[in-house]
Symmetry: C2
């Protein structure tokens, strides 16, 4: 059971690390800004899903998500197939073109990171990645978006093509 003092230090580091995140983002080309890469990444890792679920993974409002997705759709990086179970929503899925763009973005980000992490071992990096993922999970498993978390989970079941070391699969929900 983590005490508040230790959490305070983590909170500080959390804010600092957002600076690192921004810095990595600055290295991305203008046509794939950080927000776009975030969408690509979630769709690449967790596969086909609807808008609302994507918004939860990204931890941003669905209205914002909608615009990011529109951007990807305009470029032809995703396909939107009608959801047979609910005509109000469409299922979003990375197409081959989108997967290429994701791979390139991911590569660029990894490059920037690797350039600075020359004195890190792969084990160190994995340890940090794992802890960060655990942190995400700890923030995700509570506050389940109010409505029924029914069988829709089936859609996000397969880890998708561009998937990485893939770990857990629960999106976070944010304040309304």
């Amino acid at each position: 059971m983590a005490t508040k003092e230790h959490c305070a230090e983590l909170a500080r580091q959390l804010r600092v690390v957002m600076g690192v995140g921004r810095e990595v983002g600055r290295a991305l080309p203008p046509e794939t800004p950080p927000s776009t890469v975030a969408v690509l990444t979630v769709l690449g890792r967790y596969g086909e899903m609807r808008m609302s679920r994507l918004a939860e993974y990204l931890d941003i409002d669905i209205s914002v998500t909608s615009r990011h997705v529109a951007y990807l759709a305009e470029r032809g990086w995703i396909d939107r197939t009608p959801d047979a179970l609910d005509k109000r929503s469409r299922l979003l899925r990375l197409n081959p073109h989108g997967e290429k763009v994701l791979a390139a973005s991911s590569d660029r980000a990894a490059e920037v990171l690797a350039a600075h992490l020359s004195d890190w071992s792969d084990d160190d990096v994995d340890l940090l990645s794992g802890l960060l993922d655990r942190l995400r999970l700890s923030f995700g498993d509570c506050r389940p978006k109010a409505h029924a978390p029914h069988a829709r989970t089936a859609h996000a079941a397969h880890p998708a093509t561009t998937a990485g070391t893939g770990t857990a699969h629960t999106p976070r929900t944010h304040a309304n």
Copy 2:
């Protein structure tokens, strides 16, 4: 030496964790938004410093820093004393009022974090904090802002009053 594949995963997690950071930020009161807390935190931990150094720690442009600092100054949370060595700059320092505000903000952030980290041990939290700090250092020690890194370091030497588990002391510099 970390390989690109492992760094790619870290890059993903880095982006995700920014969502956690945003979520913590949402819990802060309107008069101390995340950007303000960031300034308070740096001044609280590293003590008196000039604008340019603060900007480096925050990893944001000095123009942005200037406005954040102006905000703190308006509320009377910091003191700005003239720098005897260079009349162009002033030394920024948290005053007692500012330290109280920082303590409250830090507390609030820690609360939010602790609420979600019930199944984390203090050791886990410390491990993550430590790795994040190391990450910051790895990004900070290169690219030294072009100009001479002369004896100005003396100013940031003392760990300051509100300091936490304080570790290293090198700010990051960002792309121009």
